[in-house]
Structures are given as structure tokens and as C-alpha cells.
Symmetry: C2
Subunit: 325 residues, 2 copies
């Protein structure tokens, strides 16, 4: 997995300086806790990379916005974990599990406010344009999470709807983080847009790849249980494509498979994979993934900066799209 | 109850223009719903009044900040109602009751972001100082809510702790709203502070009065069930004072009374009132309320503006502190 030690170090150093109040401990301990869980810190790195790309001297001005993005991401994890009833996050108990739902709701709220507080430490003339991107992105992330929950209740979800959901839920924050860096560097709206589009398309491609690896990944290197999405009846790009293309007979088979859990149907993963294979679903999903990856690279190439200064972003994209895990 | 029709009209007109997206409806319908429940809109009025006091021509510049404060207040109601498991708000089902907890968490989050979005529509040179007050206030409100929940679990809470909790949970938002108006009017930090202090002290006095009226209010005019706090074993200023002053024997009686609900002890309210009377608790609480009221008036009087321009704030304070409901 991508990790550029220069950026990580800057973020880690700044996080160490963070000094939340001691009291009320039920409000601030959960924030210390979630921020201490070693995430990959991809999103705050993107803010720094966006600034460095256009004006390396502005990178230090981007640290607060970088932290704001990390806070926002962790706020959304705390609240999403309540909604998804998730027991673990990064291998540790989630906030609502370790404390309770009320603590998780309220400390999440406080972390969102803390994100805005950090953002306001940016150079004063950049605060208004940064907030515009941040607010838009934050609302879209909420919309994506709501759509994701809505889709779980719906029997029919189209491919277009699914891709739009993952764009909102996960990808706009990558694009927004990069754009915020670009804003701090003082580049043109056109360049901001190119960099934003790079991030959003890369994010969609990454999410599609995640769906694919969940079924076809190497169990040795894939972080999660291979086949986990199938066992959880998750609506992934593979599932949605299959439902769209399956014959009436196979739709029947699919419906039946969904009602059985692994105890009743030990071959659930294998049977689903057989259906996927019959309709060439993996190829179709890979095609989609590659389409979004290609657009991401095109956008990055179109940015009028020396190739060398774009290298770390190319490295990031390569690392994300060629991971086996 | 205080209601100045000029300010209300401005706020109502602006709320009517609000245009949340149609989709996802589970995210935005709850926001349309909670904002349509006719609240008193005291807080957004305070923003307008704060601006008008120092520079009447800036009142129109304060409308966005005024809406931001109303959004923030409603966000906190949505989330607090989940935490308090409250079925009703303003006589209608709460958001988590009408939809579900997940919808309430996420639509609350979206409304907080919308509050920031509104705030950012303020005159650009005021955005940074407005955000500073808004962020500080928002965090304090979270702290107050956490303390309130913590106190429910604790056996001992001091008067000082209780007053600090109500200051954070309810009063700083009144002070903050007024200060935000003052910032938009462009007045000095000293004047901002005086107006802020007026709001905070008035808020504390109002909350103490609420505790008193809950036991001694006129059932005909008090909006809630008289004695409701006693029946719910709520830690109010009266309860905390009693616990502090009661003899060992009466403490025993009190502890016993707390374990009984109304079915087991139909005289619960009367017995508690007898204990309050024995230790002269109502007078002590009224003394505290009047102390904070007096400070509020002093602060307002100290603001170097013509008496006439302060009239609407005096009217507000009088209306709040002499209500029978």
C-alpha cells in the first residue's frame, strides 16, 4: 500500500501536537482513540500532494486543511460504524462498541466541528474557497452514505446508480482533498478541476477493484475475508451486473442463494462465482474499473506541470491500482 | 413568550426560500420536517438583534448567520433526541421516531454542514471571526450535552458543575448568536463580550427558572407537566441543592423516594416538595436565578448604545424572565 514517508511524517508530527481538552473525557477520549488507530492517512496526504504539485512552498500552509480532512474522514467512520453496526475498525473495537452509541454520536459531532476548526487555521484568504469545497464534499459524503443504506433496502439498483453512490460515498473526498491542496497552492480553477477529476475517478476505480478483489483476490494478501461480500449479500458491481444480465432461471437461482447463509449453503461463494463466470461478470467489472483508471490518468496527464512533479501522484495511483490486497 | 414579528418575519421568509435537494429523500426530508415544526426561533432572532443593536443597516447581512444558528440548533435537537430517546419534539414525532436512528444521525450531520454553508454566505471579511465564535460555541454545546449525560450516571453533582453544564448546553448558544450579530455589525471586541455575557447569563437564569417552574409553575400556563422533573428523577438546581443541604435522615428519605415511581408512590411530587420546603430550596434557587438575571441586565446596560436601541433586548429579557409558562 502507498505510503510516502515525507507526507506521513508531516501529518504524524502535527497529529502528535493535537491537544484535545481532558474533560469531558467521554467526549474527547473517543477522538484521541480513533485518531490513534493507525490508518493509512491517504486523504490528508492528498491535500499536501495537491499543494506541492502546484507550489511546493505552500505545502506547510496545507497542513491544517490536511488535518481537517483526516478529522472529517474519522468523523464519518465513527458515525458510519454506528449505522452499519460494525464491531471493528482497523482491527480494534469501534467507538460505539468501546463506549456506546450516544458517545459515538456526540464525539463524532465534536470531531466534525474540530475539522472545521482546523480548516479555519488555513491562510485567511483561502478559508472561503476551502470551505466551499469542504462543505460540498461533506454533504456529498452524507448523500453517498444515505444512498448506500437506501440501496440495501431496495431490490433493484442499476450500475449507474451504484457508481454514483460510490462516487459520493468515497471518491469525492479524495478529489476534494486534492482540490483543497490545489486551492492553497493558488492554482487556476481549471487545474483544480483536473486534479479533482483525477481523484474522483481514481477513487471509483479503487472501489470497483475492491469489489473485484473481495471475490477474486489472493487470500494471502487480501486484507479481508475473500468472499465476504457474497456471504453478506452485499450489492457490489459484480452482483448488480449479474442481476442485470442473468436469465430468468438464473435470477431464480440467485434469489434462492441470497436467502441461504453459509450454514445452509456451504457452497454459497462457489455457486455465486459460477454464476459470475457464466455471464463473464469479472471481465465486465474489470472493464469498468479500467475505464475509470484511464480517465484518472488522463486527467493527471492533462495538468500542465512538469512530469517529475506529478511523479508522487502517479506513484500513488499505481500503488492503489496494483495492490493485491 | 417573546416574539418580535419583524425579526420572525425575516427569518420565516428566508426559511421559505431554502431549497434542499429532493434526493436522497431520507437525508433531506427530515431537514424539511424539523425546520417546519414551528419553534420560537429565539436564537436566529438574537443574531439579527445583535447586528441591529450596533448598526441597523447590517441586519440584512446577518440573515445567513441567523439561519446558520437556527440550523445548528435543529441539528443539536435531532441528535439530542436520539440520545435522550425522546418521542416528541414540539408536539410532533422526533426525527428518529418518524424515520429511524440512522436517518436521524445522518440527516443531523447534513444539517450541521448546511449550517456552515449558510454561515459562509455572510460578508466575506466576517467569515473568519464568525467561524471562530461558531466553532467554539458548537464544541461547548457538545461538551454540555456530554456533561448532562454524564451527570445522569453520577450520584453527586455540585451546584457549580450543574450551572456550568447548563451554561454550555444551552446558554453559550444564546450568547454566541448575539455575538455573531455584533461581529457582523462591526463593533468592538469589548462590546461583543458585553453582549455575549448578557446572552449567557440570561440563558442560565432562564434555565434555572425552568427548573423552578417545573415544580412551582401554574399548571394552566406551564407548557409541560408540572412535577415532570421530579417524576423523572432529573437532577435540577432544586434537587442538587436539596442533596447538598439535607440531613442524613432526609438524604435517606430522598434516596428511597428516587427508587419509587409514581405507581408505587403516588405522593412522590408532594413528598419531594415537602423536602424542598423544609430546606427553603425554592428561595435558594430563586436567589440564584435572580443573581444571573441581574448580571445579564448589568451587561446589557453597560453597552454604550442609546437606551432606545437596546429596548428590544430588554423586552426579550423581560418576556423570558417573567413568563408564567
Amino acid at each position: 500500500m502507498f505510503n510516502n514517508s515525507t507526507y506521513s511524517q508531516i501529518i504524524q508530527d502535527r497529529l502528535k501536537q493535537v491537544d484535545f481538552p481532558e474533560q469531558p473525557d467521554n467526549l474527547y477520549d473517543p477522538l484521541r482513540y480513533i485518531l490513534s488507530l493507525a490508518g493509512k492517512r491517504i486523504r490528508p496526504q492528498l491535500v499536501l500532494m495537491g499543494a506541492e504539485l502546484f507550489e511546493p512552498r505552500t505545502m506547510k500552509d496545507a497542513i491544517s486543511a490536511s488535518l481537517a480532512v483526516e478529522y472529517f474522514h474519522n468523523f464519518s467512520l465513527i458515525h458510519d460504524d454506528i449505522m452499519d453496526n460494525a464491531p471493528l475498525r482497523r482491527g480494534k473495537p469501534t467507538v460505539h462498541q468501546k463506549w456506546n452509541d450516544n458517545v459515538a454520536i456526540l464525539s463524532g459531532d465534536a470531531l466534525l466541528v474540530k475539522a472545521y476548526e482546523q480548516l479555519c487555521l488555513s491562510p485567511v484568504e483561502k478559508i472561503a474557497p476551502l470551505l466551499q469545497v469542504f462543505n460540498k464534499t461533506a454533504l456529498e459524503v452524507c448523500e453517498g452514505q444515505q444512498l448506500d443504506m437506501d440501496f440495501e433496502e431496495r431490490s433493484q439498483v442499476s450500475e449507474v446508480e451504484y457508481i454514483d453512490m460510490i462516487r459520493l460515498k468515497t471518491s469525492v473526498l479524495l478529489g476534494g482533498a486534492l482540490q483543497m491542496g490545489a486551492i492553497i497552492a493558488g492554482t487556476s480553477l481549471e487545474n483544480q478541476q483536473l486534479l479533482y477529476d483525477f481523484g474522483v475517478n481514481l477513487g471509483i476505480a479503487f472501489q470497483l477493484q475492491d469489489d473485484i478483489l473481495d471475490v477474486y483476490g489472493d487470500p494471502k494478501t487480501f486484507g479481508k475475508q475473500v468472499g465476504g461480500d457474497i456471504l453478506a449479500n452485499k450489492k457490489t458491481i459484480l452482483f448488480i451486473k449479474l442481476k442485470e444480465l442473468a436469465s430468468e432461471e438464473d435470477k431464480q437461482l440467485l434469489t434462492e442463494l441470497l436467502t441461504h447463509d453459509i450454514d445452509k449453503e456451504p457452497q454459497k461463494v462457489e455457486k455465486m462465482k459460477a454464476l459470475y463466470a457464466k455471464y463473464d461478470i469479472p471481465s465486465l467489472a474489470i472493464y469498468q474499473k479500467e475505464k475509470f483508471t484511464a480517465v484518472a490518468y488522463e486527467k493527471l496527464e492533462a495538468i500542465p506541470c512538469p512530469k517529475a512533479s506529478k511523479q508522487s501522484l502517479f506513484n500513488l495511483a499505481n500503488a492503489l491500482m496494483h495492490r493485491a490486497q
